[in-house]
Symmetry: C2
Subunit: 357 residues, 2 copies
């Protein structure tokens, strides 16, 4: 009798304990996401965005959502991030959409475009002007969710050994400038080349190339180009470079709604924060460059050159739009939006800054 009663009590106690433990465990189930980034370990600013993301997600979810970050030093495939997220080897990526134009030409439009929108204009387009829907249309085909991943701000036109005073000066110019902007310059007779980051300084110093563009003071300072090239041209080709978060669609769908929202919000915030951090670093680093090398000459391409580049750019866009209805839809959306929002930029910050000169 005693034994029987004890056993029954044990069963009840065990059931009780299981009941106790179970809901705690299910509420505390830990979801782990592996993120591959295109950048090397501890890359400034870009790498801070993903660290910021992982930290926010960890704290907001009370440890239920954990993101581990692999830099290119680990995964060895900086330009394989799209494929790795599509294939599910990684759950997330941090990179830039225009790197994938070889895989899908319409991914080109979601980073920045020559003579396109500035960062505030482009954020307005993404979130309030239809940009997110268009990006979804492009990425849905690949089973990937794509989100803005941090803005560098307006990129400088680059470091030049010689002044550019006319379109003729572009003929034969050997310049490191990738992407669509490279195509624009090629139309005007320049020779765009691509050179690995580690070899750029020497190439510019030894005049293997005549010019290069990198980012702007925020990331140019550490490259040291200001020590070896006298002219720093203002930008035209990447007026608001937005990095990108990618999430594998199946993985996203497997997350509970609260963790999806935590992830969405943290990605969006880390992107905006990266824009503020880039703005800060640009101000700080530009002050350093000028104090160390007071003779840096800031130049803007003359009107003739800007007009020729605008014309070449417009022609390339017309070609793209003719090839693909979705490309046309995106190009038209960006053009119509920019027309409206630029009129505002001109009478707001731009008029204000000009009035104080």
């Amino acid at each position: 009798m005693f034994k029987y009663k004890f056993t029954r009590k044990m069963i009840i106690a065990a059931t009780c304990a299981l009941a106790l433990i179970n809901p705690v465990f299910s509420a505390d189930k830990v979801y782990r996401l592996k993120l591959a980034e295109t950048w090397p370990s501890n890359f400034p600013i870009f790498g801070d965005a993903t660290k910021n993301l992982a930290k926010m997600v960890q704290t907001m979810s009370n440890g239920r959502l954990k993101i581990t970050i692999d830099s290119k030093n680990k995964h060895k495939s900086p330009f394989g991030v799209f494929d790795m997220v599509r294939g599910g080897q990684y759950d997330m990526g941090h990179s830039a959409s225009y790197y994938w134009k070889g895989k899908d030409p319409n991914t080109l439009f979601f980073t920045t475009m020559p003579f396109g929108m500035t960062a505030p204009e482009q954020y307005a387009w993404f979130y309030y002007g239809g940009g997110m829907d268009l990006m979804k249309k492009v990425y849905d085909r690949h089973g990937i969710l794509s989100f803005p991943g941090g803005n560098t701000g307006n990129q400088m036109g680059g470091w030049f050994q010689k002044e550019i005073n006319s379109v003729a000066d572009l003929k034969g110019l050997k310049m490191r400038i990738p992407g669509f902007a490279g195509e624009v310059l090629a139309k005007l007779g320049a020779k765009p080349t691509n050179i690995p980051a580690g070899e750029l300084y020497t190439a510019l110093e030894r005049r293997t190339i005549d010019a290069l563009e990198w980012v702007g003071p925020s990331l140019d300072l550490r490259m040291g180009f200001h020590k070896i090239a006298p002219y720093y041209y203002t930008g035209w080709h990447e007026p608001g470079t937005e990095l990108q978060y990618m999430v594998n669609k199946k993985k996203w769908d497997s997350l509970p709604a609260d963790l999806q929202e935590i992830l969405r919000v943290a990605m969006r915030l880390s992107a905006y924060d990266m824009y503020a951090q880039s703005y800060h670093a640009s101000g700080e680093n530009w002050a350093k460059m000028k104090s160390e090398f007071p003779n840096i000459k800031v130049k803007t391409f003359p009107k003739e050159v800007i007009s020729a580049m605008e014309k070449a750019n417009a022609e390339l866009l017309v070609e793209r739009a003719a090839k693909d209805p979705l490309a046309k839809e995106i190009i038209d959306s960006q053009a119509a939006y920019m027309k409206k929002v630029r009129a505002w930029s001109e009478i707001s910050d731009n008029a204000y800054l000009n009035s104080q000169k």
Copy 2:
């Protein structure tokens, strides 16, 4: 015996049920925050920021953190929000820091300043240039945490019945322009007045006032000023108006760490989002204004007037700094930061936009 055993089983069952329910309840304990906003019900853009906040917080916390929003229609005290948050009648507020300068003069500096920073410059200062620490110093004294709460973008200089061609034209000018900018204009002989929002249209139409400033196209369109005043001046007095979230310190401390982070992140994101939404609405509404009233004349104050206003502003800041070491610390921080970051603004977006004109 039967009765005894049944009762014991009941006790065990009850204990078991409590054990089952308890951890669920403690993980699911619902924290409720009451937020008072300065704006009327369904006020566009400003009111969207708090709705956006409440929705994000609700979803991210899986219902554990709930924010209820009372507009001024409910609490009847638009300029009592600071006191209500300090006193604990409300846990949170959404308003603007410069409204509290009568309670603490140093709250003035955390919204926007005449000839001060643009929105991207100011976000960089807040988050990476020491601004948050200074704001904390000011608000710690009041048991309030203060955070950026959404940016309107550069505010327009206002609607004028007559052109301003010289400093002499400011003499006796009756203008609705509150705050520090009003003090600047008063120094130059203008007569700043304050008039309730609902009476502004009639006052401007009947020339009771000669001019007024409101926000910019994003919120000016619905006020209809473009129908009755021919000149729309570009801004100088509020280059990056940042609204404010306030949280009662004791209430904040009572939240678990994950909910604190959810709240911090959601406030910060809703603020950035409001900046993007304002940018969007400004572009849209400016296009509408121009199509309905193509004769609106956009003007920038002539150099002579800008210089006189800059000088008056600088003198007022020197007076403030002399009165209070903390005011001096904030003014110096903003001035030093702006000097660096403005040099960047000028060679980035500003140079880019100018190059395309």
